[in-house]
Symmetry: C2
Subunit: 646 residues, 2 copies
């Protein structure tokens, strides 16, 4: 038997000679290989599973490691020991060997998450668990229990210079005694933030997207990246104002109003957390980390910052920086050592939600020019690629969310979301949220209609334009149909009876203003980059997920682009929150990127007004991509007969 053996770890490629009979875990540590362990080599956690690999000249015979012994036979941890795998802490190296470390056994890894719409979700926990055995106190050598915990962490994990959070010290003595002088501690950077008796290998996190309308939360395992439960609710601040500006007005007009808005949103988060952990069979105390995105006003109110400066120019944020705030300081009922990470804000109207979307979409990682649009009361617009990123916010107002529309409503059951209009008869076909069938199909219940949402209003305006009912200037003209209703000097289109849903001249104007604002913002950023096309358009958020990209382009909401390259990004901001929750690397990445994003303030750019005026027309311009014309039979040059697209 040799004194040392050659070991090669894959996929890292790290290699070196280690003493014969070293455990695989010790060899990995000696060679700086990322091999996970919570129990520190005691055969409890099962995190260090490896298998014998091979390479030219070295086969994968299991005998290159010591035969499985009692530790592996008795192992019964949460992660099953798979066939062919060995516990790295129990298997000794008895020959030259290639050790393959599967992704699941690495602390830093990529998790494939099809469901969340991201290919690779990096997992790189900001908090880690360490199981330790602690010396008992000794009358003859009086030291504090905390002193001996630090000694154990130094001796068993090579962790030095750690300090205790105050609340951990209050839990220390019972934890040590209940755990029979074994405990698991959670360490965030150099602070011990939590302690539990005995062995423990799970800690959870919650990613929150605080929207002005809805709050969505996902409970994740901080180490595997698995989503354990998802939940959401209305933002209770709606009771103080439907849209953002009315909430800021509430704060301006009511003494202490900002405290009340802060209180209700934190309470809602606490309720969501309660439901998330209950659904997953966990406890609030298991939650050690929280990541939050939201627009600047949601961000400020959640953090307890008075939002009134965001209500008037120059729209000064308290801070643009990403923050780590103790969860207790934000009154969140989770583990007292939990920390809340808020993503950076980019500017007064381009918030942590935009940063989350940028992190999730990652335009800065690629060369194609991406336009990322998140439409709310303000549209947050990001344009760029690996070379340069620009951001702006356009004051679209709430029309796309159904506000300011005579029969408008939010995208909720009962809302008309899809519209087709027969160009001859002007008869409509509609689809309503909550019903599977179109209005001309069996079983459709027209009485369930409650109004029309953003996607519906966009489609009906495009359809009416194509049918010659709405002019390029946005005027509804009387085509002598019983569907056209005169109202004073203007006309409306009767989209639905019982209940009646009219599309009024004012509705068209409202949408024109909103779309002109959005489009002018896009055009301004394109000017800045001196481009007249983009390679890809991603429509983020609820509205972006709901609208048909073809109609959006037909209306001129967004610039010309290959229709195949226009797609919904889903809740990109929320995915960004989850990425930040799970990975310190992702946090550093978005913090660095956010600092480089160039902010274009639409309010001070004279060209914004020019673009705005130019973008009022319907359609704005659609000359670049013939596909779009084919897909919708767009008129060229004037409205004409056309076939239907379904």
């Amino acid at each position: 038997m040799a004194d040392t053996y050659q070991v090669v770890f894959t996929p890292s490629g790290r290699r070196g000679k280690v003493p014969a009979e070293s455990t695989v875990l010790d060899a990995a540590r000696a060679l700086g290989v990322d091999l996970d362990s919570v129990c520190g080599g005691r055969g409890i956690c099962g995190r260090c599973q490896v298998m014998v690999g091979s390479r030219p000249g070295m086969d994968s015979k299991p005998e290159r490691l010591s035969p499985p012994g009692a530790t592996e036979a008795e192992y019964h941890g949460r992660r099953p020991l798979l066939a062919g795998y060995r516990l790295g802490c129990a298997a000794h190296i008895v020959d030259d060997v290639v050790i393959d470390v599967p992704s699941e056994s690495q602390v830093h890894r990529q998790v494939v998450r099809k469901r969340a719409g991201v290919d690779n979700l990096p997992v790189d926990p900001v908090v880690r668990l360490y199981y330790i055995e602690v010396a008992e106190p000794d009358l003859a050598s009086p030291t504090g229990d905390a002193d001996r915990v630090l000694l154990a962490l130094a001796g068993q994990w090579n962790l030095e210079e750690l300090s205790f959070d105050a609340h951990v010290l209050t839990q220390l003595q019972p934890a040590l005694r209940n755990g029979k002088w074994t405990v698991t501690v959670a360490v965030r950077t150099n602070r011990i933030v939590a302690i539990w008796p005995g062995f423990r290998d799970r800690a959870l996190g919650v990613a929150f997207d605080i929207g002005s309308t809805t709050i969505a939360g996902h409970l994740c395992d901080l180490f595997t990246g698995a989503v354990l439960s998802s939940n959401g609710r209305m933002n209770p601040q709606i009771g103080f104002g439907e849209d953002l500006m009315s909430r800021v007005s509430y704060v301006m007009m009511n003494e202490g109003g900002e405290k009340r808005l802060t209180q209700v949103v934190r309470q809602a988060l606490n309720e969501v957390i309660g439901e998330l952990v209950a659904e997953a069979g966990m406890e609030r105390d298991d939650v050690l980390e929280i990541a939050v995105v939201g627009n600047p006003i949601m961000h400020h109110l959640f953090l307890g910052f008075d939002p009134r400066e965001l209500g008037t120019a120059p729209f000064a944020l308290v801070t643009t920086a990403a923050l780590d705030t103790p969860a207790a300081a934000l009154e969140l009922e989770v583990n007292p050592g939990a920390s809340v990470y808020t993503l950076p804000c980019i500017a007064g109207h381009v918030g942590a939600d935009a940063a989350g979307a940028v992190l999730s979409e990652g335009p800065y990682r690629r060369s194609p020019l991406q336009l990322l649009v998140d439409v709310g009361t303000n549209a947050e617009i990001v344009l760029g690629n690996e070379d340069r990123l620009l951001a702006a916010s356009s004051p679209t107002g709430p029309a796309f969310e159904g506000a300011q529309i005579s029969s408008g409503q939010r995208a909720a059951p009962g809302a008309i979301e899809r519209v087709r209009v027969d160009p001859q008869s002007l008869a409509p076909r509609i689809k309503v949220i909550g019903q599977e069938m179109w209005s001309d199909e069996d079983g459709f219940d027209g009485s369930a209609v409650t109004g029309i949402c953003g996607s519906g209003i966009i489609e009906v305006i495009v359809e009416l334009f194509l049918a010659g009912v709405i002019t390029s200037d946005g005027v509804i003209v009387d085509r002598g149909s019983e569907r056209i209703v005169a109202q004073g000097r203007t006309f409306s289109y009767r989209l639905h009876d019982k209940p009646e849903v009219l599309i009024t001249q004012n509705d068209v104007r409202a949408i024109q203003l909103a779309k002109a604002a959005l489009r002018a913002g896009c055009d301004l950023l394109m000017d800045e980059l001196a481009v007249d096309y983009v390679d890809q358009i991603r429509l983020a958020g609820a509205f972006g997920s709901h609208i048909d990209p073809i109609y959006a382009m037909a209306l001129g909401l967004v610039p010309d682009c290959d229709p195949d390259k226009v797609s919904a990004a889903g809740n990109a901001a929320g995915v960004g929150a989850m990425m930040a929750l799970l990975s310190g690397e992702s946090r550093r990445e978005i913090e660095a990127v956010a600092r480089t994003i160039e902010k274009i303030e639409t309010a001070v750019e004279p060209r914004f007004q020019e673009h705005f005026v130019a973008a009022m027309a319907i359609p704005h311009k659609t000359d670049r991509y013939p596909q779009l014309q084919t897909m919708l039979d767009l008129p060229e040059p004037t409205p004409a007969a056309r076939s239907r697209r379904r």
Copy 2:
């Protein structure tokens, strides 16, 4: 005029060439001279006052600096500009010059404080104030207010890598606007912990000594070291148990009892803080720093640590380390950025109070062998010098505090504190707390007597021993005086009538046990150092301040020592708290010293029992210093006629 001039700063001796017309403050910064400033050179704070000095070959002509201008003429800060002094930020260097920086203009300084019993109190603030002018927000370049504060601190003070405490961010925007874009921030290490609008040059701290009986607090200016007010009150925990062990018992026997004890002591501190700031005309919000000493049980209960482990062997502390805890986490109502420093504990029965006394007395800074004794329910004993320091705790019990004594009471008005006994008639003379005169002087009111305190009981026992009423074994014998009262098979001495105060055989036994425990602890430490004398004895704490050192030695409470070298140390622990409050250097010093102190556990040392038995006799041994015999006319070898000492 030259391009550069030679500048020498005294007393630091730093020197170098600086550009002509540099301000003295800029020159000091360039040369690394400790010259204070809060306003950053704007002529507001007056902290940078200097005068022209001289040295051989360079006179002290004022013309070596530019003539006083408008800034100095208009200066009206809190610290007056003294005749002959210049503002370092306003005076320009126009010739080679010696600049004398007085102690008051240094950040790090020594404050002479006769009142607190310390010669030199180092001031080296752990928190500093910085006045800054902050750029206003600009729509065209949207940054957060916090970002611009950081830029100002970097640009105006060269401070980098700072972060904000969460609560500061909530106060940031109103502070900037109320201060018209000037604010003063407080920085502790690399964190911004407080912010105020405009200029501010004062921050306060409170030093607390939490005793089992009383809580004392001193409000200090963190920068000048001045004591602004002092206050104290009973420790309300007394309601849950007179002595330490009965409070631990309360915790053991009452669910949640530790929380209740924690709550009442924190509440008491809040009340003391309220009175301290009111008395000084300040606000709670001015308090940025708190330092606390206390025995291990007081220390633990204050910090919210369950003390029950301290009630039974092996007496495990939660931690021996000095801690910095946010004041808010300890429910103290002060500035939300305030931090609470607790001095290190040394062992399960040798607490932060002993550490405070060690810091204040500083035996480790000198060569004479010092015995430092702080008597409470446990006597904390420290012995050593610059070479070596030992500490132990002796279970004296509460007899010295008047408990377990038939007519015993705490040292409070009505308590007999001094006793003289006529060796012939056995008639006593007494002195009572709250009355100036002895009992044989005009105007003495014997009816005001309520009991006898520790110093009184020690004196009466020594006096009775000298009068031959108490034997060396501690037995009260009947000398046929009407003052000796038979009680069953034992005798008592009638010290006072109306109300009656008897010194019973059990009282003598209780004091014998207590003094034997204390003395055995001292002897154990002396054994360890292999010495049979000490150079100096310091008696700390309330009891130590009250007892007559000569009687203490006569009873054998403490080892032999030159009586001139035995003295009361006053509230040494409290002075230590004040030192830690005012100086980061002092904190590092006591933390380092505490780690080197060797802990001797009396409970596991077999020789402790031997010493204990030997120390029961009265007097123990008094052969070393003839002065002592002279001063008290100590019997040699048997009781004999003697004159009186008053």
